[in-house]
Each structure stands twice: as structure tokens, then as C-alpha cells.
């Protein structure tokens, strides 16, 4: 098995959001700034990797007929851990992500990788797959957040540090609609078109 390919698959060629079009709700809802997008991406990646590892470890003892409920229990355990840890240590981020943290449990990416990959492959390969898919998801949602924040607010900030402020350097009027819900749909539409164009050209 080609481990490099397993890892890089999720980043562009099978990017969960932009190519497979799954896991949309958290991507669109939390990608309104670079910081929130990154936080959501890391939380999802943790759950994805941890559940992939556990599903893969238990794959020989999991009866085929009840595998889905077992996956759901495994995933929701890790989601609960993330929920409580974030509530304790990153209160601000927790408040702005809100309901989308418990909703990681119904993120189709995680169940899809457990079913399609971790249930059939070794622990090491499943870890790599989880990391790759998580990285692809995190990159997409952070980019989406960065674009929306830049056009909609004229700034780029990361961990409460302002990296960049367009409105002070030139006469720029931010288009507020981009940090509101419609902006998410429009930006992701163009991102999907961009990735398609890039893949078509090879």
C-alpha cells in the first residue's frame, strides 16, 4: 500500500468538501473567519483521526450487522471529549463555534471514512487517512474563512493577532455580505469551480 498516496489523497484529489461535497454544514457555518475555520478544522481532525484509529483497532471484533451503531458510539465519545475540553480551555472559540461542536458527530466525513477506510485497513493506514482528510478539511475551511474575512471585513486575524488590515492601508470598503451567510455559499461555489479547473488541467 502506498502510504504517501493515502495521506495526500484527502488534500486535493479527494478533498472532502470541494470534491466529494460532504461535511458542508460545519465548513460553511464556521468558516466566517480564519480563526474559527481553523479551530473547527482542528477539532474535526482530532475526532476523525481518533475514531479512525479506534474503528480500525476494533475492526476484527466488530460484528458486521451492527457496525454503524458502534461507529456512532465511538465517534460521539470523541466528540464529547472535544466538546468538554474546548469548553474548558478555549472558551471564546467554543462560544463562536457553538452548536457545531456537538454536531461534529453527524459530520458525514467521519462516518464515511470509518465505513469506507478504517473498517478495512490497518491502524497505521487509517491514522494517515484520518490526518490527510482532516488536513484537507482544515485547509479548505481555513481558506474559506480567510477569503470571507478578507473581503467581508478587510482583515485577517489568527489566534487574536491581526496579521493584516486592508482598510487602513488603502481606501477599501469591506463587502459585509461576505461574512454573512450568503457569502459562504458564493465563495465555496467559486472554490469548487477553482479546484475543478485545477484538477482538469492536471
Amino acid at each position: 500500500m502506498d502510504y504517501t498516496k493515502t495521506f495526500t489523497n484527502g488534500i486535493l484529489k479527494e478533498n472532502p468538501v470541494l470534491v466529494l461535497i460532504i461535511g458542508l454544514c460545519p465548513a460553511l457555518a464556521t468558516g466566517s473567519s480564519m480563526n474559527d475555520g481553523f479551530g473547527m478544522g482542528v477539532a474535526t481532525t482530532f475526532v476523525l483521526v481518533a475514531s479512525n484509529i479506534l474503528v480500525s483497532m476494533m475492526r476484527k471484533y466488530t460484528p458486521d450487522s451492527i457496525r454503524l451503531p458502534i461507529f456512532i458510539v465511538i465517534i460521539s465519545t470523541f466528540v464529547t471529549i472535544v466538546d468538554y475540553v474546548m469548553h474548558a480551555y478555549v472558551v471564546e472559540l467554543y462560544a463562536s463555534l457553538g452548536i457545531f461542536i456537538p454536531l461534529i458527530v453527524v459530520n458525514c466525513i467521519i462516518l464515511a471514512r470509518a465505513e469506507a477506510f478504517a473498517y478495512k485497513n490497518s491502524v497505521f493506514a487509517s491514522t494517515l487517512d484520518g490526518l490527510g482528510m482532516g488536513l484537507g478539511f482544515t485547509l479548505t475551511i481555513t481558506t474559506l474563512g480567510a477569503i470571507r474575512e478578507l473581503i467581508g471585513n478587510g482583515t485577517l486575524s489568527f489566534f487574536n493577532r491581526e496579521l493584516f488590515n486592508i482598510s487602513t492601508s488603502m481606501n477599501f470598503q469591506p463587502a459585509l455580505v461576505f461574512i454573512m451567510p450568503p457569502g459562504a455559499f458564493i465563495v465555496i461555489g467559486f472554490m469548487i469551480a477553482g479546484v475543478r479547473w485545477a484538477l482538469k488541467r492536471g
Binding site: 454544514c25 456512532i72 464529547t80 452548536i99 451567510p181 475543478r196
Partner: protein, 197 residues
């Protein structure tokens, strides 16, 4: 925000238009994009969601206020709600199959899809977060589900027309659908502050 003091029609209006679950709150996007090819199909999906969501909210409300909260095991919320919803969908599917084959044929394939519909779990969590009473929860849930049905049916209508429209090659298929949803969301944003909501 919704609270117990609001009248029932304000709660419903807020859930259907002002805080539309799909276009403003970003829940249930998978089925919104997945089953909006045809108006009739999306209407059946909407009906299935109204039915399951109301049932799921009622059961989740009872579990929270009769078990998890009094027994101080709140950390089991996510796990217990998702299992209850998955089981409920399975039971509803079996019951409908047995009692009404016509309804089963109309809703059948959409019922399993609802388990992974994040709006069902999302609303169950929201009614707990908002600390709503039982009746308020039910009204709110029906409003949310009606808002879902409204937006998916309208969207399916637009998509039927898009199939015949001339579109730049690179935006054909998925990208144009997202941009269309963006414009619809912009229209729904116009309802903000309607009646002071």
C-alpha cells in the same frame, strides 16, 4: 433568539423565515443539495423531515428532562440523542412499511437519510440550549422543519430552470448550485428584523 415568553406565531415565523435553518443557520445542507432535483421529490423529503424532526424533538426533550438532567449525566447528551434519533428513524420506517405501503413508497428511501441530517440533531440540541418548554419546543421544531421544506421546494424549482439555462462551462453542475443558494440566502437575509425578531 427564541424563548418561552414569545407567542406561538412569532416563534414559527422566526423559525421559518428569519432564522431559516438551511439558508441562514447552515444546517441540513447535505440533503438540501442532494435531494433538490425535482419539486415533488423535495416536497416528500420535506414532509418526512417535518414528521421525524417533531418526533425526535419530543423524545429528546423527554430524555433530557426526565433522565439526563435529573441524574446529572449531561455529558451523555450527544451520544444518547444521536442513538435515539437513529433508532427512532428505524422504528418509524418499520412502522410505516407495515401500516401504509403507499406512504412508505413515497418517503421510503428518504427516511434513512434523515438520520445523518444534522438539522434533526441540531434542533434537539437547540431546544435544550434555549431551555424551551415542551409545547414551545414542538412549535419551534415544526417551524424549523417547515422552513426547511419551504427552502428546499423553492430551491428545487430554481434548479429545474437552471438545467436549461446557458451557464459558463466551469460553473456547470455543483458550483452554480452553490452560487444560486447564496443568492437565495441573500433574499432570506432580507427578513432580518422582521417584526423585531
Amino acid at each position: 433568539m427564541i424563548d418561552n415568553e414569545m407567542t406561538w406565531y412569532m416563534i414559527a415565523l422566526s423559525a421559518i423565515l428569519v432564522n431559516n435553518i438551511v439558508l441562514i443557520r447552515f444546517l441540513a445542507l447535505c440533503s438540501f443539495f442532494g435531494v433538490s432535483n425535482k419539486i415533488e421529490v423535495s416536497l416528500s423529503m420535506g414532509m418526512a423531515v417535518i414528521f421525524v424532526m417533531t418526533l425526535a424533538s419530543a423524545v429528546s426533550w423527554a430524555i433530557w428532562y426526565f433522565f439526563l438532567f435529573p441524574l446529572k449525566i449531561e455529558f451523555l447528551r450527544t451520544a444518547s440523542f444521536i442513538l435515539v434519533i437513529a433508532t427512532l428513524v428505524q422504528l418509524v420506517e418499520m412502522y410505516i412499511k407495515k401500516t401504509s405501503p403507499a406512504l412508505y413508497n413515497a418517503l421510503g428511501i428518504y427516511l434513512p437519510l434523515i438520520t445523518t441530517n444534522c438539522a434533526v440533531l441540531g434542533v434537539a440540541i437547540l431546544i435544550i440550549d434555549y431551555k424551551l418548554g415542551f409545547l414551545t419546543s414542538i412549535i419551534y421544531t415544526i417551524g424549523v422543519a417547515a422552513g426547511y421544506t419551504l427552502s428546499i421546494v423553492l430551491f428545487a424549482g430554481i434548479r429545474e430552470r437552471i438545467d436549461m439555462a446557458p451557464i459558463p462551462e466551469i460553473l456547470k453542475g455543483t458550483p452554480i448550485i452553490f452560487i444560486t443558494a447564496g443568492i437565495m440566502s441573500l433574499a432570506f437575509l432580507g427578513f432580518t428584523h422582521l417584526f423585531g425578531l
